[in-house]
Point group: C2
Chain length 329, copies 2
Amino acid sequence: MSFTNNTKEVLRLLKDAEGYISGERVARGLNISRAAVWKQVCKLRKEGFCIDAQPRLGYRMVIPPDKLIPMEIKDGLKTSFVGQEIFYYPKTESTNLIAKNMAMDGSKEGTVVTAEEQTKGRGRLDRNWLSPAYKNILMSIIFRPEVQPSQVFSLTMLTSLAVVKAIKTITTLNALIKWPNDIYIGSKKIGGILTEFSAEQDRVNFVIVGVGLNVNFDPSIYTEIKDTATSLSKALGKEISRVELLRSILEEIEKGYNLFKEGRVTQIRNEWDTHSLIAGKIVRITSFGITEEGVAESVDEDGCLILLDYKGKRKRIFSGDVSLKMMAS
Amino acid sequence: MSFTNNTKEVLRLLKDAEGYISGERVARGLNISRAAVWKQVCKLRKEGFCIDAQPRLGYRMVIPPDKLIPMEIKDGLKTSFVGQEIFYYPKTESTNLIAKNMAMDGSKEGTVVTAEEQTKGRGRLDRNWLSPAYKNILMSIIFRPEVQPSQVFSLTMLTSLAVVKAIKTITTLNALIKWPNDIYIGSKKIGGILTEFSAEQDRVNFVIVGVGLNVNFDPSIYTEIKDTATSLSKALGKEISRVELLRSILEEIEKGYNLFKEGRVTQIRNEWDTHSLIAGKIVRITSFGITEEGVAESVDEDGCLILLDYKGKRKRIFSGDVSLKMMAS
């Protein structure tokens, strides 16, 4: 949906007002009729904004609008294709699922799906992904790269990197990436990337990259994750603007994706390595029921972890769950 | 849909009759009412059979039922899961597309989609796939193997192999496989496999394997393919039963898939090699705009062609179009 200047101006006046602002004042300010103001208020409500209307008092923005509303995210977004189309769901099964269906139906590259709450949120290997409504970032992007299936991991890499960089920009916190697809602050998880794709033998049709990120959320409300998860607000000691953070993530993703399209995968991988939680550390990896230990050296272009075992042998680990043998001092 | 014995018996009587058979005779034969016979005829018509009904004369099967009707295919099908569910479309966009949508909605492994005609039939890399109605085999199968994306090529392999074996059984013709996904008789193409899949980084959600096979079709009707394509009827000099051939293909696919699930990929690959059109031959391969020449040695487990070039170097070719430098004598 595209919005007229009037819609944006009405939104601006409502946001700037302390308490109620009369329809007449808004109408006069924009040189439009009171009926036209009412029409704009209806449009904004449909978009997801909560606007109270009282006879004699006028209009009031009810909650500070830190919902992941497309109009809010796009306002000031410096990208040319990522997030130019955003679809917003207060509640849905999973943003990856919606994006997958949209991609099947031909939605274009860069299309973003955001949600406040997921009923079937999940991480890698169908693991549950917990997230209370209106607290975190849940979003998925459609990509249509002209690559082979083995190159898809680069999209997970560049998205992890984008998330870490955006966190740094908005909060100054240093987040790290834990192979293959998690984001950590210190020894606790704050987010994850879920990459899914549709392909033929030798080419990819589309890739969906989903991001789940704990922002203004207190993980102690879920016993399952209270000891292993954290959030940006917990690490920072205050809440932050989800809209601002998401905008920054989308901008970083576009930058990374442009590098990827230029074939600069080595640059992405090197940067990824410098933000790796496990690079150079002794790790234990459980993969398909087998546990291996060694030093996590790096990641190759297919996304395999290169593990140097105690006998000095190098192994490519395709997939697995990593734990650090000792936390970095 | 499942069918009662009555439906099957009515079908049998109609097929066996020379010309018309009266409703009364059918009713007496099965010890059911004439109204019940009429009900079964309606069921059969809905299933795709053309049955003429005339006052005083009775019923008559109009065309020999070599349509790819599920009831016909399942009659005598010796499989435990492949083709236990078959969905039949006289005309559809593409069986792979239907199967993909079904798989997204949770359809189970072994589900088959067949069509008589496709409006958007295609081969690898979106190339057009021509097939006139009611002449060929167009079908797709849903698989849900617990494997990584790099292992998907084995499904293309085992399906190619199943097609070649079924052709041998039903027609005694020796078809060969041309890497990566075509079926040939002599120097002409008679079919192709189109494998598509949905995956995460380290596991496959589902795989759709599509088969397009020229059976009772005269390729000279299409100028685009008249010099490069053939069909089984052309090679054999007579038409064959598509239903019988499809049944045999489904049975061979199930056997191959069971081997695959037991981890016997090497066995599949070895068998595939013995049916390869290009193994040991000098070939020219065009892949992503680059042309290479050499001897096609074998295929590795990821589906890459191992090419021995003129300098004695081995190369893994991921994807490409192959032409034989000289035809085998």
